[in-house]
């Protein structure tokens, strides 16, 4: 499921969307940016937030993620791909920036 599949999620994220001219990243401290990103993870559909944490923070393999979700490796790879897409969309909706830009800002402060 992507963000556009969920009108409620879309509405919620659009509600916190800031005008580009405000450049939200400049207004947030690193701690606040991190907390908002974690909040975005919390609001992703299904278990996308968990899947992204398992893969990129805990370093679990796709096979392990499949076992945790009770699905096969191919299906887990598909879930992970959708989770990445959903996360990228959500970041751009909330921050108006790509993951790369947000990362650069975090490192630059």
């Amino acid at each position: 499921m992507l963000i556009d599949d969920s009108p409620e999620l879309r509405a919620a994220l659009e509600a916190v969307e800031a005008p580009a001219s405000d450049d939200p990243l400049q207004g947030y401290g690193n701690a606040e940016t991190r907390r908002l990103i974690q909040s975005v993870l919390d609001r992703l559909p299904a278990r996308y937030g968990d899947v992204l944490e398992w893969k990129y923070i805990e370093g679990r393999s796709v096979e392990e993620i499949g076992e945790l979700l009770g699905i096969g490796q191919v299906a887990a790879q598909s879930v992970l791909a959708r989770a990445r897409t959903s996360f990228r969309e959500a970041l751009e909706t909330v921050f108006g920036s790509t993951a790369q830009d947000i990362l650069g800002t975090l490192r630059g402060k």
Partner: protein, 325 residues
């Protein structure tokens, strides 16, 4: 695409794992954020939206400050648990005092340490939603209303999945928090072994934070090493917790409710052979007593008085059928 994946990975590593808030805090935060969103939706979609996000974030911070402030500003002992079952002896040692023996229905307060000997087990109702079981040779201090310090033995925690109550178990090797789950924390030499029967737990140690999900056994060493294994929900190792379950009063409960209790205590699921069998279980009110019986023995005893029986299934299921099926 590969570059995007790399940036997502690096971004998430920068951000770190999400901290699992208590259910109460989650609800408050969600309410605060929702209220802000509602307010913002009514307002013009201009700069004010960005300002309101700041207000929402401040609300989150304020709730967090209030939560943790309240947690650490209550030094007086508070009754937080009630003894629901003792098989053997349960001792309590109030801070700075000598130990005394506890009895069923007595309370345990913050600051007290409770312990079982090598031949005793006990169960406590911790708050409204958490059933806490102490295995043999367990020593645990009730540090606060939402924190236990385990220094020996093992604890089994059964927290209802809906609106779970926050509770942290600390050991020398790390700490565990749950999100509506059934799990065991066992000390083994200096290691902490967390077995998750249902739901999800968050484990924190010197090396960081990680999660454990149903079916996992996670061994954490004091040096922060984590080794993962598996454990089925109906594995015999949970037997001690089921045998220490608080007594279930079957009177005026339906057979279906009783079956769900047995299923939860034994890590299995109830399946019915037919809709007629399910209807019968839903409509049958029980009377009598199963005091002194473990869940499996109680199940056989209760079913023998009904028109239903167990049929052969996989180990993880409890199959129920009408005798006439």
């Amino acid at each position: 695409m590969k570059g995007d994946d790399t940036s997502i990975e690096e971004l998430l590593l920068q951000v770190g794992a999400r901290d699992e808030p208590s259910a109460e805090m989650t609800l408050e935060v969600q309410a605060a954020v929702h209220a802000e969103w509602q307010s913002m939706l009514r307002a013009r979609r201009t700069r004010r939206q960005f300002i309101a996000v700041g207000i929402a974030a401040s609300a989150v911070l304020a709730v967090g400050v209030a939560f943790f402030g309240a947690r650490y500003m209550a030094p007086s002992p508070v009754q937080v648990a009630q003894i629901t079952r003792i098989d053997g002896h349960l001792l309590v040692r109030p801070q700075g005092q000598t130990a005394r023996e506890l009895a069923v229905a007595q309370s345990v307060s913050t600051g007290e340490t409770i312990q079982t000997d090598d031949r005793s087990r006990a169960a406590l109702q911790f708050g409204d939603q958490v059933s806490l079981r102490l295995d043999q040779g367990t020593i645990v201090k009730v540090a606060s209303a939402d924190e236990l310090v385990l220094t020996a033995g093992a604890l089994y925690i059964d927290s209802q999945a809906q609106n779970p109550q926050a509770l942290t178990v600390r050991t020398d090797a790390g700490s565990v928090r749950h999100v509506g789950t059934q799990y065991e924390v066992r000390t083994h030499a200096d290691d902490m072994v967390v077995s998750v029967r249902e739901g999800r737990v968050m484990i924190a140690n010197a090396a960081g934070t990680s999660s454990g999900v149903a079916g996992e056994e996670i061994r954490v060493t004091p040096r922060g090493e984590i080794v993962r294994g598996t454990v089925a929900a109906h594995d015999p190792r949970w037997q001690w917790a089921a045998s220490t379950a608080p007594q279930f009063d079957i009177n005026d409960h339906t057979l279906a409710v009783f079956l769900e209790w047995v299923a939860r205590e034994t890590g299995r699921k109830v399946v019915y052979a037919s809709s007629a069998a399910q209807s019968a279980a839903n409509g049958l009110k029980l009377r009598g007593s199963i005091v002194g019986l473990d869940p499996d023995t109680a199940l056989n005893a209760v079913l023998s008085t009904t028109q239903l029986h167990r049929y052969q299934t996989k180990d993880e299921l409890i199959g129920i059928a009408l005798t006439s099926d």
